[in-house]
């Protein structure tokens, strides 16, 4: 089926070339980092993780969110989703691939990466994160490929596939839970040491991941004749709205615990993020942008009338993505490392090479996504179902009865 990615309009090829170019620039920056060491990044002895691990955290969420399409479709037989499931699964693959790349570029000795496999260490959450991410990627690749192949051959997917699908549903929760455990199990890092971390991660993932998917679907509807169907889009928008409300609720729980208990250790990171600590306040504007973005997105999403307005919806989703990205990306990392174990503050600013490498990895992810989605759309184009809206099909089906 991969040959379907080899035929495309000039626009398609120019887009791939642009992505390839950006990825190459990122790789050049990575060569510099490889030769000089991580000193080219903004990370320090006190803030020893930075932008790369922030992207990992965010993208694991995007990957896990595919389950928000798969679960209603397979556990509740929600037919409107059947058409866009493949897009969600392929987005998950691209996201996990980026996650793995972000871990790799973050390593001081990447050529020793396989030590994780050579010396498996079950007591390390990072070891489990590697296991669950890789399995999740292959599960999605396998399920996506088999369903697409069946669709192309106009047959129903093999019945045994449903066991893999059920596994992938559970697995999606595991990848983000394990990623949350990377943080939530560390003594002395007050911002991370919270039992609600995994739940908060899942809530923010189920809001931001489908939001990114919908934004990409809107783009796809603009540049191709693909139609997801209003019913599917509206249902995803509703899921996003609920997940975002839960996400904000969980965050407010953290704020209550920290400030009502009055325990300084719990307050310091939040105070640092939202009003600055010991005179360090570099991330304060970003956090308030996140607050404003989250609030505004909820204002636009909660009333059904605005939520189902497909002219406004992309803006609401854009604000939501921005807000969750700041909170779970940079906010989570610098908040966790602030204050330092000595109750001092060391600020972190990503450097130009760090940003170039990050953009490069995103370009590789976009490249993978483009090729996978191209294959999926070409199959639907061959079948003549690309412009079909699932609700029309359903109506057709009902009328035939």
């Amino acid at each position: 089926m991969l040959e379907k990615a080899l035929k495309g309009s000039p626009g398609y090829w120019i887009w791939l070339l642009v992505l390839g170019g950006i990825a190459s620039i990122g790789m050049l920056a990575y060569v510099v980092q490889l030769n000089m060491g991580l000193t080219v990044t903004g990370m320090s002895r006190d803030v020893s993780w930075g932008f790369y691990i922030a992207q990992l955290t965010y993208l694991v969420g995007v990957a896990a969110s595919a389950v928000m399409l798969v679960l209603p479709a397979y556990f509740h037989h929600y037919k409107a989703f059947k058409k866009i499931i493949i897009l969600g699964e392929f987005l998950a693959i691209a996201s996990v691939a980026m996650c793995i790349l972000f871990v790799t570029v973050d390593l001081g000795q990447p050529q020793r990466l396989f030590n994780v496999v050579l010396h498996p260490t079950p007591n390390s959450v990072l070891f489990w994160d590697m296991v669950v991410l890789n399995v999740y990627m292959f599960l999605n690749l396998f399920i996506g490929w088999v369903t697409l192949e069946s669709e192309r051959n106009r047959v129903a997917p093999p019945h045994w596939l449903k066991y893999f699908i059920y596994l992938s549903i559970i697995w999606a929760f595991s990848i983000h839970t394990v990623t949350a455990f990377l943080y939530a199990g560390l003594p002395g890092r007050h911002y991370w040491l919270t039992a609600i971390m995994a739940a908060r991660f899942l809530a923010s993932a189920f809001a931001s991941g489908p939001a990114i998917l919908l934004l990409l679907v809107f783009l796809l509807q603009k540049i191709t004749e693909f139609r997801a169907g209003d019913k599917a889009i509206n249902t995803v928008a509703t899921i996003i709205t609920y997940a975002m409300c839960v996400n904000i609720f969980f965050y407010l729980l953290e704020i209550f615990t920290a400030y009502y208990s009055g325990i300084p250790g719990h307050q310091h990171p939040i105070t640092y993020l939202f009003s600055g600590l010991h005179g360090f306040d570099q991330w304060v504007p970003y956090m308030w942008v996140a607050v404003a973005g989250a609030a505004l997105s909820l204002v636009l999403l909660i009333p059904a009338k605005i939520r189902y307005n497909h002219t406004v919806l992309p803006y609401a989703l854009g604000l939501l993505v921005l807000a969750t990205y700041i909170d779970k990306g940079i906010g989570l990392i610098v908040g966790g490392f602030t204050p330092t174990p000595f109750e001092t503050v060391t600020e972190y600013v990503p450097t130009i090479p760090e940003l170039m490498i990050t953009v490069g990895v995103y370009a590789i992810g976009a490249l993978i996504l483009t090729v996978l989605w191209k294959v999926a759309l070409e199959v639907k184009r061959d079948l003549g179902t690309i412009g079909e809206k699932p609700e029309d099909v359903e109506k057709l089906y009902v009328s035939k009865l």
Binding site: M36, G37, L38, T39, T41, M43, S44, R45, D46, S48, W49, V103, D106, L107, G108, Q109, P110, R112, L113, N115, V116, L118, H119, T121, P122, N123, S124, V125, L126, F127, W128, M130, V132, S174, V178, F181, L182, Y183, G185, L186, P187, G188, R189, G336, F337, T340, P341, F342, E343, T344, T346
Partner: protein, 268 residues
């Protein structure tokens, strides 16, 4: 009561295992000080006869016996020169095995409004605590950081470290440094200790309680340079110097509420 608690922990541990979470059982470990079981340790005939051995190495620092900045420098330099620790300018890429800080930074959980005046002015030595229950060992994905069964030293295998820096996030004592760049240019060639290696860029490092000196029958470099201000010995031996010092003086340890059980004790 304690039985039900233990049962609860057992069940919690088992179900956590069942969920594929393996970090929790370590949390169920007994938090009190229990003598280390005599693990096999080095095979017979693989250690020199004069090697210093113990089942639980620990350090006691008499903070008031250290007299001023020169004394501190003497102790720190003894360690850093012996282990070829680079002197990298600036705070960002800094590497240190043993260093000093104020009372409030060393013992932040013992913060008080009205600290004794002399403590307010004093500095304290900080180094890896060689915890009985080390979080850095728990998180390391390659066993590059591990705890020696036979004497409790928390040590690093520089040949295996992949530089993921998970241990730096996990250590609540800020004891770990990462080689952001090649450290060699920052070591004074004339001061290079030919008996000990340097490190390469991309690996984490920290104090190793001078495991290599103990094997040669020498006390840790800092202890030797401290002229009696620092004691080093076997915590499991009731007659050891460290146990005697702890019996006769009031001592504190850093961040004990976290359950890591540091092996470095401070007599204030």
């Amino acid at each position: 009561m304690s039985k039900t608690r233990r049962d609860f922990l057992k069940i919690a541990g088992m179900s956590a295992l069942g969920l594929g979470c393996s970090a929790l059982p370590a949390a169920a470990a007994d938090p009190g000080h229990a003598p280390r079981k005599a693990a096999q340790g080095p095979a017979p005939g693989t250690l020199p006869d004069n090697a210093l051995t113990a089942t639980h190495w620990a350090m006691v620092i008499f903070t008031r016996r250290i007299k001023g900045p020169e004394h501190f420098d003497h102790i720190i330099n003894a360690c850093h020169q012996y282990h070829n620790v680079p002197e990298i300018p600036g705070h960002k890429d800094e590497i240190k095995w043993i260093w000093t800080d104020s009372f409030n930074h060393t013992f932040p959980e013992k913060e008080t409004h009205f600290l004794a005046q002399d403590l307010e002015m004093m500095d304290f030595l900080l180094l890896c605590n060689h915890c009985e229950n080390p979080p850095c060992v728990r998180v390391c994905p390659t066993k590059a950081t591990f705890q020696r069964d036979h004497d409790g030293i928390v040590i690093m295998d520089m040949h295996r470290c992949i530089g993921c820096r998970f241990c730096m996030a996990a250590c609540p004592y800020g004891a770990r440094s990462f080689n952001f760049a090649n450290p060699r240019p920052y070591i004074d060639g004339a001061k290079l200790n030919p008996d000990y290696p340097t490190r390469m860029r991309g690996v984490v490092e920290k104090c190793n309680f001078c495991a290599e000196r103990l094997a040669k029958g020498q006390m840790p470099a800092c202890v030797e340079a401290s002229e009696g201000a620092m004691l080093f010995g076997d915590l499991d031996d009731p007659n050891s110097e460290v146990r005697k010092a702890l019996r006769e003086n009031f001592s504190i340890r850093r961040k004990t509420t976290l359950g890591t059980q540091p092996s470095v004790y401070y007599i204030i």
